[in-house]
Symmetry: C2
């Protein structure tokens, strides 16, 4: 378990456990885009959690306030690759902060922690995509030193 100091607040980061899944899903659904994309049954999320948890290249982070409540999450994936001199990538997905902690500096602290995690695991490049309608998030990532050099394409396989 790691800790984050944000102003006078002290938060913890740890790998999520199966018992965190309901809270994590609630956080994903409490979002302008997530609200229309998440489902009410828990079982698909539990199955997905087990897939994540059994893959050593995934880190699903649970960020907790001092009272133990879940206030943030992100999923880190380490992707080895040949391109760019054999660069390992840290991919960041599914970033969500509870509305109660937005604007407190937690996002910045969480990304600094994630970048350290990547470096410790040999990653030289961090990458993420953000929906073009998330205007505040796009600005946040640019402030963190990210460059919007790429188009992010998605396609359903069903």
């Amino acid at each position: 378990m790691d800790s984050l100091e944000v102003g006078e607040r002290r938060l913890t980061i740890d790998r999520a456990t199966e018992s965190d899944v309901p809270e994590l899903v609630a956080l994903l659904a409490d979002d302008v885009l997530g609200a229309g994309r998440e489902v009410s049954e828990l079982e698909p999320y539990l199955a997905a959690f087990r897939d994540i948890d059994s893959d050593p290249h995934q880190y699903l982070a649970a960020v907790r306030d001092v009272d133990g409540s879940l206030v943030g999450t992100m999923q880190l994936t380490l992707i080895p690759g040949l391109a760019r001199g054999g660069a390992k990538r840290l991919q960041i997905e599914a970033v969500r902060l509870a509305s109660s902690v937005r604007g407190t500096g937690l996002g910045t602290a969480l990304f600094a922690w994630a970048h350290d995690y990547g470096r410790q695991h040999g990653a030289s490049l961090a990458q993420l995509t953000s929906d073009k309608t998330r205007v505040d998030a796009l600005r946040f990532y640019e402030q963190l030193g990210y460059q919007a050099s790429h188009e992010g394409f998605k396609r359903h396989l069903c």
Copy 2:
């Protein structure tokens, strides 16, 4: 090993092996962006290859012509996740086709194969990013049904 029929051409797709690494690196470097990003020593690529090859969620594809020459590559990563109802993602990286096979329909056939691979492994969403300067690639992905809904951010961790 799978095969692809492209017009009168018959190509094969298989997992790359360590002996393919020099040809794969040459393919990555034979590219307007890759030319400035790849290095001359082979060792970093061999180390990266071993990381890829030891991770069961990676598939580094080697596409070969009937004479055995390497004419294409892409790297597939299966990423489990909680978001979107516990959707598993097929991430596609490091797509390269030799200049000798561009415009033949091989790219389209290769992506159809990749999407089938994703479906067979439970993925419901395919995702990739493409540098905004690769105008032909951006059009190609839109023709394949991809939507450029996201900004693709990158940041060096060094």
